[in-house]
Symmetry: C2
Subunit: 383 residues, 2 copies
C-alpha cells in the first residue's frame, strides 16, 4: 500500500503519484527494532516491508563515515562525510536500485527500466545484469558518447529518445505499466526506501546536528528524511537532525520556490551548472522537499565557482567527488559564514558520486619535470 506524500490518501502499488494532488506516493512511516547483522539490510529488516534478498545485492551500503580534520578546523564545526562514492557503481543510487529491483522482481516483473544519463543509468544497468533481468535505460538524444560507456558496459539496452526529457520521466512509467516494464526512476517509492539506509548508518555512528544533501529530483532528500523520521518514531534517536537541501544556484527550483515563498516549485528556466548530476529543472519530488523544508529544515544554493572550489577542497582532504556532491560543502561554507550553522555543530555531508566519473570538470594543476640524475636536487627544491 502506498500513500500520497501530500494528502495521505491510500493507493495500490499500481500508482506512483496521487491522481488528485499529482504528488509522489510513498510507503508508510514504519516503526521497528534494530537486529544484528553485517549488512544494513539485515540490521534494519523491519524497516523494509517488502522482500529484500541479498541475492540481488552487489554489496551496496555500509559505506564509511569519514571525519575531515582540516576542514573541520577551518569551519569550526565537526565535519564528517558519508562517502557514497564507494558503492558498487560509485554512487548512492545503488542503495535505491537494490531495494527497487527487489520490489520489481518479487512483484513478478520481467523487465526493468530507468530514465537517466548518469549515475542511475549505470546503477540500474549493473543491478539488472547481476539479477539476470533485462533492462532498458532511456537516454536523451544528445547524450555525449563518454556518458554511454559506464552504462553500456553492463549490457543494458540503451535507447536514445527524441523529445522532451522531462516528459519522458512520466511517459516511461505509463508505457512501462502497459508493457510490464517496471521503471525505477529517480523518486520511485521503492527506490526512495533504499536511501533510508543512509540515515540508519549515520545514526549508528553519531548524532548529527545537520545532514547536507545535494538535491535534484528530491528522491534522496525524501529517503533520508524518512529514515531519520522512522528512527525517531521508533525511539532509536531522540531528535531529528536538521536536513540541508543543497542546490546549484544555476539550477535551483526548490531554493527559488522557498525564497519566493511559493507553495509549489516552478520549472527553472535556462538551467546551467557544472553540477550536472543535480541539474533537474523540474524535480518530480520538488514540492515534497518544499513541504519537508517548511518543518524547519534548511535550503541553500551555491554558484559553480563555489562548487568547484569545494570540490578541490574535498579532494585535498582525500575525497574526490562529482561537482554535484561538492555542492554540499559549498553550501555549508555559506551557512557557516552566515551563522546559520552554529559553531561546533556536527555536520554530515552526503558525498553522492565519484569524481572520476566526470573527469572533464576539474581544476587545473601542474607537474614538474627532472632527470633521474637531478631527482635529488629537484626534490630538495620542493620540500
Amino acid at each position: 500500500m502506498l500513500y500520497c506524500s501530500k494528502c495521505g490518501r491510500e493507493y495500490s502499488d499500481e500508482f506512483l503519484r496521487c491522481p488528485i494532488c499529482n504528488e509522489p506516493l510513498q510507503l508508510p512511516y514504519l516503526k521497528g527494532e534494530i537486529e544484528r547483522g553485517k549488512r544494513v539490510w539485515e540490521r534494519y529488516l523491519e524497516f523494509f516491508p517488502f522482500p529484500l534478498s541479498l541475492r540481488y545485492s552487489l554489496g551496496e551500503g555500509d559505506t564509511p563515515l569519514v571525519y575531515l580534520p582540516n576542514l573541520s578546523k577551518q569551519l569550526n564545526v565537526e565535519l564528517y562525510v558519508k562517502n557514497e562514492t564507494v558503492n558498487p557503481t560509485w554512487s548512492f543510487k545503488d542503495r535505491g536500485t537494490f531495494t527497487a529491483i527487489n520490489y520489481a522482481i518479487s512483484s513478478g516483473y520481467k523487465y526493468v527500466g530507468t530514465v537517466s544519463t548518469g549515475n542511475m543509468g549505470a546503477s540500474v544497468a549493473a543491478y539488472t545484469s547481476h539479477a539476470g533481468v533485462k533492462s532498458f535505460v532511456l537516454l536523451s538524444e544528445d547524450i555525449p558518447q563518454e556518458k554511454l560507456l559506464p552504462i553500456g558496459v553492463y549490457g543494458a539496452k540503451m535507447i536514445k529518445v527524441r523529445g522532451d526529457y522531462g516528459e519522458l520521466y512520466y511517459r516511461s512509467i505509463e508505457i512501462g505499466k502497459k508493457l510490464g516494464i517496471y521503471f525505477i526512476n529517480s523518486d520511485n517509492p521503492y527506490r526512495v526506501e533504499g536511501y533510508k539506509s543512509i540515515s540508519f548508518e549515520i545514526a549508528e555512528e553519531l548524532q548529527p546536528d545537520y545532514v547536507v544533501i545535494p538535491t535534484s529530483s528530491g528522491g534522496l532528500f525524501s529517503g533520508i528524511y524518512k529514515g531519520f523520521y522512522e528512527l525517531k518514531k521508533s525511539n532509536i534517536i531522540e531528535d531529528m537532525p536538521k536536513l540541508v537541501c543543497a542546490q546549484a544556484l544555476g539550477c535551483s527550483p526548490i531554493y527559488t520556490a522557498l525564497k519566493e515563498e511559493r507553495e509549489n516549485i516552478e520549472r527553472f528556466e535556462n538551467p546551467e551548472t557544472i553540477a550536472k548530476a543535480i541539474k533537474n529543472p523540474y524535480p518530480p519530488s520538488g514540492n515534497r522537499v518544499l513541504r519537508i523544508l517548511k518543518e524547519g529544515h534548511l535550503c541553500e544554493a551555491a554558484t559553480d565557482e563555489e562548487i568547484l572550489k569545494a570540490q578541490k577542497e574535498l579532494a585535498q582532504e582525500g575525497l574526490f567527488v562529482q561537482p554535484a556532491s561538492a555542492t554540499s560543502l559549498a553550501v555549508v561554507q555559506k551557512l557557516v559564514s552566515e551563522n546559520k550553522i552554529e559553531e561546533k555543530s556536527v555536520v554530515v555531508l552526503i558525498l553522492t558520486g565519484a569524481g572520476i566519473k566526470t573527469t572533464t570538470s576539474y581544476l587545473p594543476f601542474s607537474t614538474l619535470t627532472c632527470g633521474l640524475d637531478n631527482l635529488s636536487s629537484c626534490l630538495i627544491e620542493n620540500l
Copy 2:
C-alpha cells in the same frame, strides 16, 4: 625489525631489501586473536605490530564479497569476488597506503613519496592530503595527460622523471632515505602488511579453495599470502587456500620463470598488454612470489583477448573492473577448462581496481534511437 623474505636475516627498518640476497624484506609472521570492532583494523589489531591510527583512514577495507550466480553456474564453481574497486580511491592500494602512511608518520617522517602512474599514485596523493603530509608522486616522462588528473586533483606534487622507470623504483628509495622522504612503493613492507586485511576479511565470510590475485610487483600477492599464513599460524583457519598468481601473457615475468623452471625471474622483454596496472616487466617481489608458488600454489597467464572477454563478462554480472582485475577471471576460465581447478571449488577473485578509471579499453556496445511518440513500439520490439 624486518626480515629478508629469502634468507631470513634480520635488519633494521632502515633497510627495504636484503643487501645480501637483494630480496624484499618483510615483517615477521605474527600470531594473534580477533577482537571486536567495526573496522578490519580494529578486529585484527594484534596482527599489525606498529601504530595504526584511524585518524589517517579514509574508510578503506571491509569491502564486499559478492557471489556471482551466472558465472558460477557457467564455470561449475562457487565464484565470489572481493570487490576492491569500492575503496576510497577505487583500488586495493588504499589498504597498503593506510598502513604504510601510519608507519611513516609514527616514525617521524614529514614527507612521503611513491613511484606510480596509476592507482598507487592516486592513493598516496589522497591519503597524504588527508593526513596533512606533503607528498611526491614520481611519474614516467611520457605519462598521458588523462592519467595525471586522478593523482593531481588530490594536491600531491607530481614530478615527471626522465630515465629508466624501473631504476627509479630503487633510486627514489635511496634518495628518499637521505632527504627524509618515506617512499611507499609497490612492495614496501608496511604497504604489504595492509594487504593482509583482504585475507582476514575473506576468512570471516568463507573458506575459499582458491584466491586469484592479479600480480604485478608481487606486493599484493605477498600480502595476501602473509595474511592467510598468519591466520593458519593463529589456528583461526585450518588450511591455507591455494593462491593463484594471475598475469597478462603480454607481460608475464613470473609465469615465464615458473614455466621455464628458473629460480629467479628475468626482465620481460617488450612487454605489451591492455592490463596496464599489472604491466611490470621486472617486478621487485617477483622472486618472492616464485618462492611462494613453489609451495604448491598456481600461476597462469591470459591473453589480452581473454582479458577483455572476462572484463565484459564481469561487467555483465554488475562489476565493472580494470582489465588488470579481469585477468583473474580469464585465468580461472583457463584453469577450469584444464581441470586444474576442480568442480564446485570455492573461488575468490580479487578485483583490484575500478573500470571507470580506464575508460579507453572497453568493448563496443550499441544504442537504439526512437521518438517519444514511438517509444512504446520501440520497447515492444526489444522485449
